[in-house]
C-alpha cells in the first residue's frame, strides 16, 4: 500500500469525525466525534512515519494519545458537573447568553 492510500483513509475518517462535530448537538456525542478526528490524525502520522523511515510521526502520535486521555478525563468531569446542574447535555440548552 502506498502512502497516499493511508492518507486518503485518514482523510475519510477525519471527515466523518468533522461531520459529527458539526452535526451533533449532544455533548457526549461531540466528544466521540473528536476522538474519531484524533484517531484519524494518528493514522496519518504513523503512515508518514513508516514511508519516510522517521520515528517522529510515531512520537507525535504518542503525545496525541496522551493529550486525548487527559482531555477525556477533564471533559467528562466538566460534563458530569454540567449535567448535575442542569439535567441536560444538549448544546442548545448550554447557551446562556441569548443575543
Amino acid at each position: 500500500m502506498s502512502l497516499n492510500a493511508y492518507l486518503i483513509l485518514s482523510t475519510i475518517l477525519f471527515v466523518i469525525g468533522m461531520m459529527g462535530v458539526i452535526r451533533r448537538k449532544n455533548l457526549l456525542m461531540l466528544f466521540f466525534s473528536t476522538e474519531i478526528m484524533l484517531n484519524a490524525v494518528n493514522i496519518g502520522l504513523a503512515a508518514i512515519s513508516k514511508f519516510h523511515g522517521d520515528l517522529t510521526g510515531q512520537m507525535f502520535a504518542f503525545f496525541i494519545i496522551a493529550i486525548a486521555a487527559s482531555e477525556v478525563a477533564i471533559g467528562l468531569g466538566l460534563l458530569i458537573l454540567w449535567y448535575k446542574r442542569t439535567g441536560s447535555i444538549d448544546l442548545d440548552v448550554l447557551q446562556k447568553m441569548k443575543g
Partner: protein, 196 residues
C-alpha cells in the same frame, strides 16, 4: 497481498464503525461502535510497523478512554434515545466536505511535494519497541515528562470535578433512606430554582 487485503478490510470496518458512531441516535450503540473502531484502527498501526503504537492504542483508547466514557455514561440517562434538532443538513454536509478538503490540501501538499529527510531514522534490526524507547527517552524526554505532569493534573482535575457532592454513599444506606434523601435533594433544587 496480505497487506492489501488487510488494509481494505480494516478500512471498510473502521469507516462503517465510525459512521455508526456519528449517525446513530442511541448513545450505547455509539459507545460500543467507537470502541470497536478504535481496536480496528490499531490494526493499521500493526500494518505500518508501529507495533508499540498499536499496543498503546488498544490499551489506552479501548482500555482507558472507552472505560472512562462507559463510567461517565452512568451519570447520564444513556438508555434514552438522543434527541437532536438539526437544521440545514445539506449545508452541514457541504461545509464539512469543503473545510476538510482545504485542511487536507494544506497539510498534505508540502509532505508529498518535498523530500523530507529522516530526523530520527528507524533501525530495522532493533525492533519497534526498542526504537521508540530510545528516541522517546533521549530526544523527547522533556515532552514526555511534561505529558506525565499533564496527565497527573488531568487526573486530579477529573476527580475533583466529578467527585463533587459525592459525600453521600448510596451503598451504605437502606432503600428508605435513599428515597428520603432523593426527595430532599429534589426539594432543595426546586427551592433554589424559585429563588432565582
Amino acid at each position: 497481498m496480505f497487506e492489501i487485503v488487510a488494509f481494505y478490510l480494516f478500512s471498510v470496518l473502521t469507516i462503517v464503525m465510525f459512521s455508526i458512531t456519528v449517525f446513530t441516535n442511541n448513545s450505547l450503540y455509539a459507545l460500543s461502535s467507537l470502541a470497536a473502531g478504535m481496536i480496528f484502527i490499531s490494526a493499521f498501526f500493526f500494518l505500518l510497523d508501529a507495533d508499540f503504537l498499536g499496543a498503546v492504542q488498544i490499551v489506552v483508547y479501548t482500555g482507558a478512554v472507552m472505560a472512562l466514557y462507559a463510567f461517565g455514561m452512568m451519570f447520564f440517562d444513556s438508555l434514552s434515545i438522543v434527541k437532536e434538532k438539526i437544521k440545514n443538513p445539506r449545508l452541514v454536509f457541504l461545509l464539512t466536505g469543503v473545510v476538510a478538503l482545504i485542511i487536507v490540501i494544506i497539510f498534505v501538499s508540502p509532505i508529498i511535494g518535498a523530500n523530507i529527510e529522516a530526523q530520527y531514522p528507524v533501525t530495522p534490526t532493533w525492533g519497534n519497541s526498542r526504537d521508540v524507547g530510545i528516541v522517546l527517552f533521549t530526544k523527547y524526554l522533556i515532552p514526555f515528562e511534561v505529558a506525565a505532569v499533564m496527565l497527573l493534573v488531568a487526573m486530579i482535575g477529573g476527580i475533583i470535578l466529578a467527585g463533587k457532592k459525592m459525600e453521600v454513599s448510596y451503598s451504605e444506606m437502606t432503600e428508605k433512606e435513599i428515597d428520603d434523601f432523593e426527595i430532599q435533594t429534589r426539594e432543595n433544587a426546586a427551592a433554589k430554582k424559585d429563588e432565582k
